[in-house]
């Protein structure tokens, strides 16, 4: 095994950081009235480079760098690639709908890049100190991004709510870290796991784990820690919502998977029952609340809570099958959710002039392409076959059934039925013609970035729905580096499971 230089282990982070600094510096020296669009393209290019660097990490010999602080293996590479992909599409969406000049648009892309550094680092950090710093880098950037429309009334409010509850959650996570440190005398994930495996269980780790679950529960907006989500999503600009409903959640789920499966495998009974509860609550609360929403972004916020719940279902599986299902679901969810927010931000615009469901009436006739793409993503969110959403749900529920969590799977399937109602309601509204041809605000003409963004998201959702094999293989490989498979790898039986209606 040849030695990998430390710097290559954090190459995506280095690329993103340097690009962020470059964007920030150019923004500072550019004249106020110059277009900031080239900065956006610079961001897109650098995220693409980081994407490529993350892909290359799959080939790298797994190991740690910088004195055991970061670890690159197939798991971290999987989430690196996912997060870089999400950020890439979000930059494209922003290029499409954000104003070209004024409001310090360069800062927007710099913050997105810095946030991406944090999220990417979260998935490869194996030292709780670095996990904490990465979490904060990503959080602080998203706090600012949420309130980016600082002159609107809702922007600062959204940012404030996100900030206050986010830091509250961080404090809980940090207290959990402190207790783990107290119980084991170390903050390195591998050393913690080794210490916990040999010492008899004191009470500390259980409390510590519960505290960390609270902190991460907030970040992934799982019930009962979901209250901030709809308000923040409503007030934040749509490209930002596309980013923060997927990328930080994927990163937080990566941390959660590492914590639960690699650090506290002995506490499996405790955390799996807690996560069982969180999953059931998130699905039910999210879907029931989404039924009565009038605002599209709020509805999608509740839908994202429900999807966090579906993902948590995978944690009921004790083996690497759960990790694989959760990772696959993270990809499928990211593809369709970023996609639907691409449509929402193109149709609704930067200022959200179309925001309620009734505003979306007849969108499909004013812009047939947007209508069709929106319909496609809604179908995928419902979980109808030939879309990524179907296989995502399928593997998650299969993993739960394998582990014997039958009730959780039943709750999940019932919830998918409820969810279909509000997704279909939006779908029918989009395809309902106006009674009289009123003077509605027109939808902006298509631009190159939005076409690229839609191509990428529609393409990946379709690929995940028709030939999920490669991604599933990558997810299983990722899972194997968190939990080495003990028995023969359990093949997921392709049973004729009914698609969620």
């Amino acid at each position: 095994m040849n030695q990998v230089p430390d710097i290559l282990r954090i190459l995506p982070e280095v690329i993103l950081t340097l690009a962020g600094v470059a964007v920030m510096m150019i923004e500072a020296v550019l004249h106020q009235n110059t277009s900031r669009r080239p900065l956006g393209w610079l961001a897109v290019g650098s995220v693409a480079a980081a994407f490529w660097a993350s892909m290359a990490q799959f080939q790298m010999a797994p190991g740690t760098g910088f004195h055991g602080v970061v670890q690159t293996d197939s798991f971290s590479a999987f989430f690196h690639v996912l997060i870089c992909g999400i950020v890439l599409v979000c930059c494209l969406i922003a290029l499409d709908c954000m104003p070209e000049r004024g409001e310090n648009m360069g800062e927007f892309f710099a913050l997105v890049l810095f946030g991406a550094v944090g999220m990417v680092l979260m998935s490869s950090a194996v030292e709780l100190l670095l996990v904490f710093i990465a979490l904060e880098i990503s959080s602080i950037s998203t706090y600012i991004l949420a309130g980016f429309r600082k002159h609107s009334v809702k922007g600062p409010e959204s940012s404030l709510k996100y900030f206050l509850l986010g830091s509250f959650a961080t404090a809980f996570f940090l207290y959990g870290v402190a207790l783990v440190f107290g119980a084991t005398g170390t903050t390195n994930i591998r050393e913690i796991a080794a210490t916990l495996a040999t010492t008899p269980m004191p009470a500390f780790p259980v409390i510590a784990l519960a505290m960390m679950l609270i902190g991460i529960g907030f970040k992934v907006s799982a019930a009962p820690f979901q209250v901030w989500t709809p308000d923040v999503y409503e007030g934040a600009p749509s490209p930002v919502v596309a980013l923060m409903s997927t990328a930080p959640k994927a990163a937080a789920f990566a941390v959660l998977l590492r914590l639960t499966y690699a650090v506290f495998p002995l506490l499996h009974v405790q955390w799996s029952s807690l996560l069982w509860l969180m999953a059931a609550l998130s699905m039910t609360v999210g879907n029931l609340a989404a039924l009565r929403q009038q605002n599209v972004k709020r509805m999608l916020a509740y839908s994202s809570i429900a999807h966090a719940g579906y993902l948590l279902v995978a944690f009921s599986a004790p083996s690497s099958e759960g990790i694989a299902a959760a990772s696959f679901y993270a990809v499928a969810y990211a593809a369709m959710n970023v996609g639907i927010f691409a449509v929402v931000s193109h149709v609704g615009g930067y200022d959200d002039h179309l925001n309620s469901i009734s505003d979306y009436r007849g969108v499909a006739y004013r812009s047939p392409l947007m209508g069709a793409v929106l319909a496609f993503f809604l179908i995928s969110l419902i979980g109808i076959p030939f879309t990524g959403g179907f296989f995502g749900k399928f593997y998650v529920f299969a993993a739960a059934l394998h582990a014997g969590a039958i009730w959780l799977a039943i709750i999940g399937l019932l919830n998918s039925g409820i969810a279909a109602y509000y997704y279909l309601r939006l779908l029918t509204t989009v395809y309902t013609r106006h009674a009289e041809d009123s003077a509605e605000p027109n939808i902006a003409p298509l631009s190159i970035p939005i076409v690229l963004a839609l191509l990428l998201t529609v393409g990946s959702t379709l690929v995940l729905g028709i030939m999920p094999g490669r991604v599933l293989y990558a997810a299983r490989w990722a899972a194997s580096s968190v939990v080495p498979p003990t028995a023969a790898p359990t093949e997921i039986v392709v049973a004729p499971l009914q698609p969620a209606r």
């Binding site: 904490f132 904060e136 602080i140 600012i144 809702k154």
Partner: protein
């Protein structure tokens, strides 16, 4: 030497006071201060544990928490100013434009 349990109890108390104040207080600045209190309570735990384990790592953690808290404070106060400019109030009960 003061037994470590004292520090831990104090830290837990401070953390609970912070969490309680976060939920009860109505002024945004006070709410924000209670978050800082929670972070500093955690810092106390870290230092106590670092002393007990003779592990310098806990104290390094405190440095980083302090720096992150400062960064968070800067961003948080900027957000609070932005809120004040659009609303002319710092009462969390009146920041309620978006509700269920």
């Amino acid at each position: 030497m003061v037994p470590i349990a004292y520090y831990l109890v104090l830290s837990a108390l401070l953390f609970s006071i912070g969490a309680g104040a976060f939920l009860i207080k109505r002024n945004i600045i006070t709410v924000f201060m209670s978050i800082e209190l929670m972070l500093n309570a955690v810092n106390l735990s870290f230092v106590a544990f670092a002393y007990q384990w003779h592990a310098i790592r806990g104290q390094i953690f405190v440095f980083f928490v302090m720096v992150v808290a400062a960064a968070e404070a800067a961003v948080g106060l900027a957000i609070i100013i932005a809120v004040y400019r659009t609303r002319n109030t710092l009462n969390v009960d009146q920041i309620d434009l978006m509700k269920l």
